[in-house]
């Protein structure tokens, strides 16, 4: 916990995370070509591009979730706090605790709201009830869900609306105090109001120094929440820059076409 704070404050200039020539093959078929990107703490980076271009594939490299897919091979370097994590010996449990992930479909556990947040904490060794209670409340507040659920923490998470479930999933990720949060189209199953609530949450966790990487198909969303944007096209990372530049003055012709709705 203490070293998280130390690391985040000492790495304001240095990226928390950078990838160097990362490639992905699924059963020998290349899905992502050499991709090098860097991500800083306190910033939100949007990954955009047409369907099937490799955004989710890239995102799943960062917390090594691709290792759970049989036949998937990841090449290149993924450097998290100066440690290359794309190596055999890396402790994936440690990495995934520090690099959280929120999925496209809200996927709370079939447990109570409280347990959804506390469960991973317990298995990472937090046992004291007061500590757990405090962390659960803090995480639910950070995900802007506390006021809505504080009186029904023991109810099943499935009694919540889709948007609330997604914020619960964010809270459950934040509970482990990660310094990177990966989000794969977190709002695609939600209505505009729930989407707005999630976007607020994203901005506020970034203000707290967390590095957020978000995949989105919603261009307005990318402009609203992100500082940086990377454009992927057919398995290539084509252009990366400040969000204002990417949307205002795209350099690559394919990005320009994509933004003007000419394909994908």
């Amino acid at each position: 916990m203490t070293d998280t704070t130390k690391l985040t404050s000492s790495t304001v200039q240095n990226p928390v995370l950078h990838t160097h020539d990362v490639t992905v093959d699924y059963s020998g078929k290349r899905a992502l070509n050499e991709t090098s990107l860097s991500f800083e703490s306190g910033t939100v980076t949007a990954l955009i591009g047409p369907s099937g271009c490799g955004k989710s594939t890239f995102l799943r490299c960062i917390n090594l979730m691709n290792r759970e897919i049989p036949g998937c091979v990841v090449g290149g370097k993924i450097v998290y706090h100066d440690i290359n994590v794309n190596t055999k010996g890396i402790d994936t449990l440690w990495l995934r605790k520090r690099v959280g992930m929120v999925f496209q479909q809200p996927n709370p556990f079939r447990k109570s709201i409280y347990e959804n947040v506390a469960f991973a904490l317990k298995s990472h060794g937090m046992t004291k009830k007061e500590e757990l209670d405090e962390r659960v409340e803090k995480s639910l507040r950070a995900a802007a869900l506390w006021d809505e659920v504080k009186d029904k923490l023991r109810d099943s998470a499935y009694a919540l609306s889709g948007g609330q479930q997604q914020r619960l999933c964010i809270a459950r990720t934040l509970a482990l105090q990660p310094d990177v949060v990966l989000m794969d189209e977190p709002c695609s199953a939600l209505d505009p109001i729930a989407t707005f609530a999630i976007e607020e949450t994203i901005s506020s966790i970034a203000r707290n120094g967390i590095c957020v990487v978000i995949v989105t198909h919603n261009m307005e969303q990318a402009t609203r929440v992100s500082n940086k944007t990377a454009f992927f096209y057919l398995g290539h990372m084509v252009e990366f820059g400040d969000t204002a530049q990417i949307f205002g003055a795209p350099k690559d012709q394919r990005l320009n076409d994509y933004l003007n709705g000419r394909f994908g």
Partner: protein, 323 residues
């Protein structure tokens, strides 16, 4: 049925609104609607016949044994060899005791096997071989399982006709079914549950035990209780393993005595075996009444398992999903 009716009604309503319906189209639509009605009718008739037949069997068995069903003496007394008025007390106890032992052995093994097959085994060769073996075993006639049990447990291991031999034979009979049920239950849990757990830095074991198994629990419980019904009514696998005699039981007997109810090395006739035995070689004068009564008791127990399976499964489901 209702959706077919709705479609039909909607079709009739829409027809006049269409300016000039194509003649071909109306003819095809009409034909499809008739087809739908005929098919629904035939299917409903088939299901009706099956339901009537099944209900008739159940009612017949229950009615034949109704008087014995509420007869406390019959339910608790020991069976008689030559005169009327015997009961099925030891058989009833034996059936439940064997069932409990069988489940205690087969549920953990099946759960472990199913978890290994769905979560750990590399998909492909090993899982395919295991799947084929399980399918084959689950269609093995139970008399074959019984004879195998006799050769292995009764003769080779010298356990004799005993509860232990019977429970192990029933375990062999039960495991393939349970593994399949649990495997299906685990596979039905959405993949994103497991991904969510792994993405939180949990081990595969934690993800399985704390996320997948609880989520699959309603289906697992339903499967286990339904398999319990099958085990409870099984006779062929027990005739040559648990044996066909029911020693008089006494709770005050020492554990090594054949009269101690919990002694796993004593022979133990169950309800289903009792029905088989008295019908094939029984000489008691009230044979058909005893047989009918035993069948009714067996039937009530299995119906109870079935109801418990549904209720427990649904209650667990509701608790987990709050729906």
């Amino acid at each position: 049925m209702t959706s077919a009716q709705e479609t039909a009604v909607a079709g009739e309503k829409n027809a006049p609104n269409q300016s000039m319906p194509n003649a071909d189209y109306t003819a095809t639509a009409h034909k499809a609607r008739v087809q739908d009605k005929v098919a629904t009718g035939i299917l409903a008739a088939i299901v009706g016949v099956i339901i009537v037949a099944l209900v008739a069997i159940i009612v017949y068995i229950l009615a034949s044994g109704a008087s014995k069903l509420v007869d406390v003496h019959f339910l608790t007394a020991k069976p008689e060899q030559f005169k009327a008025g015997g009961g099925i007390g030891p058989e009833l106890f034996n059936s439940f005791y064997l069932l409990v032992l069988t489940l205690l052995i087969s549920v953990p093994i099946s759960l472990g096997a199913a978890i290994f097959l769905t979560q750990y085994a590399p998909q492909g060769r090993i899982t395919n071989i295991a799947k084929t073996a399980i399918e084959t075993l689950s269609s093995l006639p139970s008399i074959v399982v019984g004879l195998f049990g006799m050769l292995t447990f009764v003769l080779t291991l010298h356990w004799g006709f005993s509860i232990l031999s019977g429970a192990l034979a029933l375990t062999m009979f039960n495991i393939p079914i349970l593994v399949r049920v649990i495997q299906q239950a685990l596979e039905a849990v959405p993949r994103d549950q497991r991904d969510a757990a792994l993405a939180l830095g949990l081990t595969r074991w934690e993800a399985t035990m704390h996320v997948l198994v609880p989520a699959a629990m309603p289906a697992i419980v339903t499967g286990v209780v339904l398999s319990a019904g099958r085990v409870f009514g099984e006779a062929a696998a027990l005739i040559y393993t648990a044996g066909q005699s029911a020693p008089v039981l006494s709770w005050s007997a020492p554990i090594w005595s054949l009269s101690n109810p919990l002694n796993v090395f004593r022979p133990a006739e169950t309800l289903a075996v009792h029905i088989w035995k008295i019908n094939s070689e029984g000489v008691v004068p009230d044979l058909s009444a005893v047989s009918a009564g035993t069948a009714a008791v067996l039937m009530v127990c299995i119906l109870a398992f079935d109801i418990i399976a549904r209720v427990a499964g649904r209650a667990l489901e509701r608790k987990l999903t709050a729906e």
